[in-house]
Every structure is written in structure tokens, then in C-alpha cells.
Amino acid sequence: MTVRTEPVMAAALPKAWSAWQATGVVALLVIAVIVPFAVSSFHLLQLTMVVIYAIALLGLNILTGYNGQISLGHGAFYAVGAYTMAILIERAGMPYWSIVPVAGIVCFIVGFLFGLPALRLEGHYLALSTFALAVATPQLLKFHALEKWTGGVQGTFVPGFAAPLGLPLAWDQWLYLFSLGIAAALFFFAWNLLRGSTGIAITAIRDHPIAAKTMGINISLYKLLTFGVSAMYTGIAGALGALVAQFVSPDSFTIFLSLSLLVGAVIGGVASIFGAIFGALFIQFVPNFADQISKAVTWAVYGLFMITFMYLMPNGIAGFLKVIGERLRRRRNS
């Protein structure tokens, strides 16, 4: 009898790139930079959202994929980032670009604080408490006492701006490139973090917390910091998302956003940096595509896509591509 064993996803942690991988990434970046001059403004808007979702998903992936803490509430951090952008532009008159790091810091703190009670919870209970956060978010944003800043039920507008330094770019073109630059930097930092001793430590906590503790890892601190960093990424995405939508309102940040983010993280491939990009493409384009197939049963079609992806690619798109890549390499070597 032969036993078919699933390959263990060993190199979950990123390693240094091979030459062709580096070439691929550079080529991808070049294409990404050319894109705003080649597509319609509607498609550009969609692509900007892909870039932004990729940042948000990377944040969720660091937490859920690498550290093993499930979050059904990342839409809340996205919302906090978005509102930080809207409020600081409108009420404090700060330049939008300076608010991006502020939103990151605010969300880091919110994530860290939310992580404190979450430390006591594991697995399903953690998932439920983050779910509660996601459910509560729209109502918290409608809260009367905060209406002066949040705009309450109505929400609040976010203005557009001109491209800086007199660049001959429309605002949406500039915003795409601005988001792309921030995404590139954040992906680079995440790659460094995850291949460094921090990445090894947070993955060790996921795999075996007791052993990790015995090896000298301060589990509480690492989990909190991971929660904070994760929320920071998703919050920065939210801040950029507010600029794209030019509007924030409580009903833009329902539980559905949180669930979409989790769908994107899983379909893209958990514990994979590039998985975030594939996941972002999925949550941006598959609902539209499903809508084109049938307006009557859009979400049923979406669900069908989701199940098909999970069935065909149990380790997400990134895991699937990795297996393909390894097979090709083996064939070339043999």
C-alpha cells in the first residue's frame, strides 16, 4: 500500500530570492508602474484597490498565517485607518501623505490594546471576539458623541488633491503610484521581518507555544506586537482606501469587509507574502466577475468560485504556484 502524503509547507518563512524570482519581482514592479498610463480610470481605481487590499491582507496574513491568531475583525482596523485619514484631513488640515504613518501608529496602538484581552483567548474564542469587534464597528462609528468628528450615520467626504511637485498626473494616477510605493515599502519590511528572527519566533509560537516559551520567547509580548503590526498594515490600507473612495461612512466597514479580508488571506495563501497579492486580486475582481455572470445570484456564484479555489488549491493560490514551480524545477533537473 502506498501512502500519499501531502507535502508539508516547509519554507513557509521567506528566504533570500533566487535570480529568476528577483527578475520576476522587478518585472512586476515595472509593469505596475506603467499601468496607470495604459488603462481607463475605472480600471485604475480597481487596481489601486488591489494594491490597497494587498497591504491589508499582508497585515492579516502576518497575524493569522504566520502567528496563528485568527481575526474575523480586521475590517475594524481598516475602518480606523480610513477614519483617521478622513478626520485628520477635514478637522486638522494635515496633508494626506503625513496622515498615512499617523494612521499606521493609531492602528498599531488600537491593535496592541485589542490584543491584550485577546491574549487570554485562543482559536475559536479569539475568532469570536474579533468577530464581535467587526460587528460593533459600524455602530461605534455612528456613535452620537463622536458625530462631530466622524460625521455619524452620514459619514464624511475625503477630498482629492493634485499630484505633488507639479507632476503631470491626475489625482487617481498619482494615488495609484503613491499606494504602490507604500505597498512596496511595506512588503519589503514584512519580508525582512518574516525571514528574520522575529518571523521565526512568531511562527514558532503558532507551531508550538509551550516549546516556544521554553526557548525563551516572550509569547505575550510577541503576540501583542504581531497584533499591533498586523493592525498597522491593515490600518494604512484603510487610510489609502479612504483617499480612493473619497468618502468614509459606517456602512462601508461592515462585517462583510472583515470576512472578505479573511477570504482573501486564505484564498491567496496563508503564511505567504505573495499570497496577499493574489488574495487582493480575488476579492477585488471575483465579485465583479460573478456579478457579470449573473446579477440574480451574484453571491452564489462568488461562493462557487470560493469553493472551487479552495478545492483545487488547498494551500491557496501562492501554495499552488509554489508546488507548480517545484515540479517544473524537478522536471528540469531530472
Binding site: V8, A11, N192, S197, T198, T203, H208, K213, T214, N218
Partner: protein, 257 residues
Amino acid sequence: MSSDSLLSIRDVSVRFAGIVALDGVSFDVARGDICGLIGPNGAGKTTLFNCLSRLYTPAAGTIAFEGAPLLGVAAHKIAQLGIGRTFQNLALFRTMTVRQNILVGAHAHTKANFVSDALRLPSVRAEEARLAGEADELIALLDLGGVADVAVDSLTFATKKRVELARALAGKPKLLLLDEPAGGLNHDEVEQLRTLIGAIRDRLKLTVLLVEHHMNLVMRVSDKVVALDFGRKIADGTPCVVQNDPDVIRAYLGTAA
């Protein structure tokens, strides 16, 4: 208490919901010794290990490591003090490679943090190079060269045990706690293990506390043996003395009532 005692355990008692797992256990482990800890299943050996790792807090008693009280120290600070361990039922990081597992073992001696790692500062690169070198040495010492970049999940049981040992050694312990290292190994592997434990002690100048059921191994490798039964210490001395102790024989073989 002898003057060169590395570890001294005094009147340690542990209770779980009314069951007494350890009952007033006291003994010393001298620096540089290999101390065997034996006893039938449920005697409290692993419970004692978990006290030393600070996973459990005893209801009574004290533990001193290098003369300083251990019971006020947080579990994640134990590795830094110089106590490393392996686990009875393997506690490896299953999705990670052998090398990565060993690197986690060195965590207590790393300075990198979230910020320095994200920016990949020169200090991070220098530390990474140092850790990689140390991991290579352990990989060579424990003959893991062929599987260094393989996920531990796909390794054989005996190899996994060696990975656990390498991971524990990566923390540069002064005291190494081995929880049934021979469990599940065949005769030849046990012989290799015996040589290895002695070699590690001599080369790395550490002290070993060894929980083991394999009597032949314990008696041949240990300088001193402590025997537990139902949470109490029943014998403490050289392997020869403990082996012939009537209480120990009774605990293992039972006695005609």
C-alpha cells in the same frame, strides 16, 4: 548542599486537583554531572521538569539554580538563565525546517526586534551570520547535515529527537534537561545516544538531568541517579547504589504482599 551544586531542589511539592504529583522532593545536581532521574510512570519526573521550566509552579518548596531562586523567574526567561530542555513527546515546530528549529533554540541569545528586523539593520545581518554559524556547528555535531533544510514533520522519530537535542543546545544551556531521549529508539540508536550525551557533556561543559526509562542507558551514562516513586524520592546516589536499593527494586518489580 555541596558547594559546586548547580541545581538544588528543596521540598518541592506539586498537586493537581487533589493528586499529589510531587511530594517533598529534595536533591542536588552538581555542576558537570550527568544526573539520571528514574521512576515508574507517574512518578513525577516530567512534573519536576515542568517545574524547572517554570511551566508549573510548585505548591511548596524552593528551587535554586546557580544559587539564585528559580521560582520567581518567568518561563520565557529560563532559557536565558541557562536551562534548556527536550520534551518527552516531541515539541518541535512542525512546519519549520531543522535549521529554523535550531534557530528558535537560539532565541534567548538574540537581540533583534521587530524594528531592527523590519529594517534589516547591519546588526541584524551580523547576528544572523553568527547564528547561522552556530546552527551549522550543531547540525554537524548531531549529524543533521542531510536534512538541515527539510521540514521536521517529514523526518523519522529518531531524527526528530536529534533535532530537539540540537535545538536545546542552541540555547547554550548550562543545565540540559533531557526527557526520555531514548524513548522509541532501537538498540543501536540508544548506544549512539549514550556516546552522544557523554560527548556533549564533555565538549560543551554542561550539566545534564536525564529522565529515562532505559535502565541500561541511565546506569551507564549517569554519575548519580535519583529515583522517584508516587512523587516521593526513594533513592539518591551512585548508579550502583540506586540499582541495588530495595525500595527501587520494589517500585519497579512490585513485591509480594
